[in-house]
Symmetry: C2
DNA sequence: TCATGTGAAGACATTCACAGCA
DNA sequence: TGCTGTGAATGTCTTCACATGA
């Protein structure tokens, strides 16, 4: 099993999206520098990333878009597809459901969980919502390996443990609280408040840069 | 103006959150290794990050929590505070509004924008929603420098340009589409679908690792 | 003795620059 | 000529390890 770095995986995902667009619209071949400028990276970076997936282009025509897509998908996707569950059908959970609808074939939201009686045992956007207590059983039955935590911070950690017990090995945590899990389980904390704080820091930097420029000129 | 790397800023934000918790609950001093284990990093990393903000601890008592908070906040915050706007009051926009309520003093959501007549000219969670066409005027009046894009991908880019025109210099884009802006404006693309794809990749890796282990043992 | 501050080493990631090929 | 694939150089981030000080 080949190992790709975090950054490389992110870029492969970006490349794939670009290639899917290109496949629909226009050419069947692409050069590293075209892909690079679409993705906002250096062309050597692209070539190095693609080297890793073991598909070679030609110096005449660059890369074959369809073959490249196939190569990237072999790295990123599982042939059988993977099941995803959303925990929490508040605004955030439903937003993710909305964004996701029909966008990826190999990745399917198969269940939602909530403990609100107004939510569970109902179907939202074609996805059935179950009571949180049934997580273990449902996740195993539907073969769910990816969990998205979209609940308030107070019980996020507990839910993460439950997901892990239910066989989930990749978790996305949107609650503004850091969660640690055994190293064999991947968790990405996507703290929305931190993101705003970071953007605010950079916004300020830009303003100060602008002020300095105006001072000089 | 000191420059901090992206990663350092992220960690400073994490440290601050941890320190705020500690300030409330217990001790008034903290050692680098304590802060490190809370943040999930190496203690040398913590000391190096704190070196940068120009506040020194003592080898006897480590760092003074309150002073450290002050030091970090001087780097991250603007004294006057910054204004934030959310574009799009669908599920995602409201989720962010919910998560944010009263969490940060120096960062205030001052406006929302939407073009749905059911949304604009109303108040949500204490935040007034305006028509998207008034963005320029409203942002300038309320001194908004940070924008959050929480709309479907099709018009995300257009909105980003409008925000930039309205004087916003830090943007968070939650739509699953990459947006490029002039380099003086900071934009972070927080693509929710890519995040799931990444988690799915890692979930699969964990499963395969587990399978290998079981095979060996 | 134990923690800080930091030079130096190490690990990783990106980019340059060019050989080789069509 | 203009591309790919890649060694080597550069740049960035993290960690080690130790002098210094209370």
């Amino acid at each position: 099993m080949l190992q790709f770095s975090e950054k490389t995986i992110e870029r492969l995902i970006i490349y794939r999206r670009i290639l899917l667009d290109i496949l629909k619209s226009s050419d069947s071949n692409i050069y590293s520098h075209q892909l690079a400028s679409n993705a906002g990276v250096n062309s050597a970076q692209v070539r190095r990333d693609l080297m890793g997936i073991g598909y070679s282009g030609s110096s005449k025509n660059g890369y074959d878009v369809a073959m490249l897509l196939k190569g990237i998908s072999e790295v990123i996707d599982t042939p059988e597809g993977e099941g995803v569950a959303i925990v929490g059908l508040g605004h955030l959970g439903r937003a993710i459901l909305d964004y996701f609808r029909g966008r990826r074939q190999k990745l399917e939201i198969r269940a939602a969980f909530d403990h609100d009686p107004a939510k569970y045992d109902r179907v939202f956007h074609g996805v059935r919502c179950y009571h949180t207590d049934n997580m273990n059983q449902v996740c195993r039955e539907l073969n769910i390996t990816v969990g998205i935590i979209a609940i308030p911070p107070d019980c996020a950690e507990e839910i993460a443990y439950k997901l892990a017990e239910a066989g989930v090995t990749g978790i996305l945590n949107y609650a503004p609280v850091k969660i640690d899990l055994p190293q064999n389980i991947y968790i990405e904390n996507r703290d929305m408040i931190m993101a705003v704080e970071k953007a605010a820091y950079h916004a300020r930097q830009s303003h100060e840069r602008k002020a300095v420029h105006e001072c000089i000129s």
